[in-house]
């Protein structure tokens, strides 16, 4: 029996070995290293001196850090709730359809999500091109003149947010559709028999039963949007005048362009902690909100 038990454990170890090895190498080790590095003045490649909390002190007096933090927050405001509302509306609309029509509509709303980010940004950069962009006449109609949206401090973040919503919204639509399909139809039938109208059906049946999915979408979006880099790097490069500069861009710039590995690690860790804290907090809050 003991040899059997040993053999059993040996097989288990063999099965988990590939994952554990890779995980240790590319996740655990870099996590420990990034903490260590954040207390040094190391360049990107090579070692540095232990400087204690200096990087963090520097961070607290770095204006760019506060600008980035503010822009991250602004971007979250511009995307998280709007994309959730838009996705819910689309999901409700698509869910009413059936068969081929539903598959077709779903494909139309989901397709952008599977595109590489650089494809998305190239298409939108063309659509919003100052001189020839097809959307410029529409912008001119509403504000009176063409706007170089990615070079305009006021327009840049809302535009990047719009592009982001267009790109990632399909994922949220799918989650809501899955959630809607999980609601038993008998509930709607019973409520209809009681004389409930569409509006009441939504607020008394759909909304409360869909809340766990809504909470999930809000949490996932919050985490995702805090990690903003690709779109903003490709569309505006953080500009103009740092008006779209965000934390991950600061990590990138400090580490890979200014060769400050230690300082970049400190920024990365702060981003890391913000994401963990905010997502746990939000998830708990939303759970409590759902229990009422």
């Amino acid at each position: 029996m003991i040899t059997n038990r040993r053999k059993h454990i040996a097989i288990a170890m063999t099965l988990i070995a590939p994952f554990v090895f890779i995980f240790g190498l590319v996740f655990l080790y870099p996590t420990i290293r990034v903490i260590e590095l954040s207390f040094t003045d190391a360049p990107l490649i090579g070692s540095g001196e232990w400087i204690g909390l200096d990087n963090y002190k520097k961070l607290l007096s770095d204006n760019l850090f506060y600008t980035s933090l503010k822009n991250n927050g602004y971007f979250v405001l511009l995307t998280v709730v709007p994309t959730t509302v838009i996705a819910l509306v689309i999901a409700l609309a698509v869910n009413r359809l059936s068969g081929r029509m539903q598959a077709l509509m779903l494909a139309a709303f989901f397709l952008p999500y599977i595109l590489p980010v650089s494809v998305v940004t190239q298409i939108w950069a063309w659509m919003l091109d100052f001189q020839f962009g097809i959307l410029q006449p529409a912008i001119a109609f509403f504000v009176g003149e063409r706007v170089p949206v990615f070079r305009h401090p006021v327009w840049v973040m809302p535009t990047v947010a719009t592009v982001t919503i267009w790109w990632t919204n399909g994922f949220n639509v799918l989650l809501f559709i899955a959630g809607l399909r999980n609601i038993p139809t008998e509930l709607y039938e019973a409520a209809s028999l009681d004389g409930a109208n569409r509006w009441q059906l939504f607020w008394k049946v759909t909304w409360p039963l869909l809340w766990p999915v809504t909470a999930l979408v809000l949490t996932l979006q919050l985490i995702l949007q805090l990690k903003l880099f690709d779109q903003v790097y490709l569309l505006s490069g953080g500009g103009p005048f740092n008006s779209s500069y965000v934390l991950l861009m600061m990590v990138y710039r400090e580490a890979f362009q200014l060769n400050n590995g230690g300082y970049a690690s400190a920024v990365a860790l702060v981003l890391f902690v913000i994401i963990m804290v905010v997502s746990v907090l939000q998830f708990q809050l939303l759970r409590i909100g759902g229990r009422k």
Binding site: L15, L25, L106, W166
Partner: protein, 275 residues
């Protein structure tokens, strides 16, 4: 009753208009890509496709390194997919069906790593790749993308749901754990394996941030990183930019349209809203 029908009709119309608006950027990219560069920027270029000019596609295929980038993207994404699926399946089987010291800890680690923003690790991951001499190689692109905890979580759920009787029957027949995994648990879950493989492939194909950091040589770039170079090379040749963008998106877009149901299923299952 008839007001309900009118209401339904109006709602359907709104949905259709919404879908058309949503898909318009892709339509517009396509229309632009099949025009001549002169026509793209001319004043009388309308909204409808009025040309079928494939020059932009020919130019982008032969005058850029698009084919090299395709090769890099296909190679790295395939390797990532295979390793992620195989290692994930093995690990999930052990977690679900076997008893060994450290099992709870390992599952805890898998669940926790699901929450960790890997973007926060890029600095030290890059240092590691440099130490391993993997900067500007496929290995450098691949390694950090091999951790996809959600694959383990999903597999474990599905393995947990396989009836215990099947397991006992195989064990009575003298079969071992490997027989069980290869002859019972794997074949029973082909459906979820294809779904997870497709979504892993799409995610790997679309990865931008990491390949962008670890690759600096144009010959080693993946499609999403490579096409941003074309931007600089072509300047303001919009038809060509759109042709490149569409060619870059084509493999995943086609994969999605062919396997639409599987992709939908994979997204729903891996986010936990459908089990």
């Amino acid at each position: 009753m008839s007001t309900r029908k009118i209401e339904n009709g109006i709602l359907l119309m709104i949905t259709l208009v919404g879908a058309v608006i949503w898909i318009f950027p892709l339509y517009w990219a396509f229309v632009t890509s099949i025009r001549t560069e002169n026509h793209v920027v001319s004043a009388n270029a309308g909204l409808l496709p009025d040309m079928l000019h494939l020059n932009a596609y020919v130019e982008s295929i032969f005058n850029t390194r698009l084919l090299t980038w395709y090769f890099n993207s296909i190679g790295t994404s395939l390797i990532i997919t295979v390793v992620v699926i195989v290692s994930g399946m093995m690990c999930a089987y052990a977690l679900s069906q076997m008893r060994f010291p450290g099992r709870r800890l390992l599952y805890g680690v898998v669940l926790a790593s699901f929450m960790i923003p890997s973007q926060a690790l890029v600095v030290t991951q890059f240092v590691l790749m440099n130490d391993l001499r993997l900067v500007n190689t496929w290995g450098g692109i691949i390694l950090p993308q091999l951790i996809v905890p959600v694959v383990i979580i999903v597999y474990k759920q599905f393995f947990d749901a396989v009836p215990k009787e099947m397991r006992e029957a195989v064990l009575l027949d003298g079969g071992g754990e490997y027989t069980l995994l290869l002859k019972v648990y794997m074949p029973l879950n082909w459906g979820i394996t294809t779904a997870l493989a497709i979504i892993t492939f799409i995610m790997a194909w679309n990865q931008f941030f990491w390949p962008f950091l670890v690759i600096t040589s144009e010959n080693m770039m993946t499609i999403p990183v490579g096409i941003t170079q074309v931007n600089d090379a072509f300047g303001v040749f919009y038809a060509r930019l759109m042709a490149v963008a569409l060619l870059a998106a084509a493999p995943v877009a086609i994969a999605y349209l062919v396997f639409q149901k599987k992709v939908t299923e994979a997204v729903m299952i891996s986010s936990g809203v459908k089990g």
